[in-house]
Symmetry: C2
Subunit: 197 residues, 2 copies
DNA sequence: TAACAAAACTAACGCTTATTAGTTTTTAAG
DNA sequence: CTTAAAAACTAATAAGCGTTAGTTTTGTTA
């Protein structure tokens, strides 16, 4: 039929991973068939198995490469010598940028992780829990330093992490607003609110 | 094997719908089989078809009953004679309450609507678009009345609607914080922000 | 050009799926 | 008790799934 075109500096597996992320995002992991994935690549389904181990492996790779990117960025932010408010702002901006530039992958990690097999499922959830707890810690410290209002730290983190996922909807009608505008508006609403006083 | 126990004031179909919402929420629509649904009800899979038309019909019913509840509440809020800020607050609180009290159904409507068949899929998306646009209008008016900051209305609505979905995470560890506390904290963060000044 | 490895192909397997057909059991009314 | 309807059952179907086996084509190096 055809053959898998490797992109510059990327293996054929990378091509499969990219197409898989796009398909899984669009149709969901369970509703995406290996035959359909192969079709978007221009190859027969069994040919994929010369490059990958299984369908599950694709999901694992997508979920953990996203999780690792977030974990890495969090570690970097934690080390930086700025206020806790600024740290939270940096994280919010990073989340938005990830949603914009790696939309398929982030969406899949956010919405399809439940189809991970063990032990990957437990590992993923653990990594996410650690991430959340570290953000909660940032908020707690910000409150102690009087930078932040006396909010419930966990609810605050949960609100932030959910809010940034709203970029998903922006993806569909990105025409009339730039990434910078999106980012600034979202950061402002989360940090300083919507109302005048 | 068994038989479907109708709950007080509800048909057997209602029982199936309730169990379907719970299963679809937990495993996702595509990964939920009619056999497994039947098992949770205590009946063989083909027996379900004495009460329902198809698996798709279950999803349609769940999605549209949720969508209609939100649409109805929005109409009520629009008619009330309070400030636009208060209208938005009422809507946020309603979203949180729905996430708390009809979690399975709202989650399914939020996350599994893509598996709706046509023409239901288009109808659902249209109804959601209308809902979003009406919220955008509330924000626009609030800005004109100087109640609200000069934010980008669409980004603001998208942030609010995503943020309230964060209640999903609260559902897993609801022990150490009450619904009221959750609701007040989330409303405050969205309307007045996280930072001191 | 010969030889070897990589990667494509076709065919098929075993399994699961939603759903239908046909039959038996349960429930409710006269 | 009889009867009719409702709702359960068993068995089976056709379609789709991820994946494997075995074979052929393609690409690379000597």
């Amino acid at each position: 039929m055809g053959n898998i075109k490797a992109i510059a500096n990327g293996s054929k597996k990378d091509v499969i991973l990219k197409k898989a992320a796009a398909l899984f995002r669009l149709k969901g992991f369970k509703a995406s068939s290996m035959r359909e994935l192969a079709l978007t690549i221009g190859v027969e389904a069994p040919s994929l198995y010369n490059h990958i181990v299984s369908k599950s492996e694709l999901l694992q790779h997508i979920c953990f490469s996203v999780a690792n990117e977030f974990t890495l960025q969090l570690q970097e932010v934690e080390l930086s010598k700025v206020s806790n408010t600024k740290k939270l702002e940096q994280l919010i901006r990073f989340h938005i940028k990830m949603m914009v530039h790696s939309f398929d992958e982030v969406y899949v990690a956010n919405n399809e992780w439940k189809y991970l097999d063990e032990p990957y499922l437990s590992d993923f959830l653990k990594q996410r829990r650690v991430y959340e707890n570290k953000m909660v810690q940032l908020v707690k410290e910000g409150i102690l330093k009087k930078e932040l209002k006396n909010v419930h730290p966990y609810v605050s983190v949960l609100t932030i992490l959910s809010a940034v996922r709203g970029v998903e909807f922006w993806q569909r009608q990105k025409k009339d607003i730039s990434v910078e505008e999106l980012e600034n508006n979202m950061v402002n609403q989360l940090l300083t609110g919507l109302t005048n006083i």
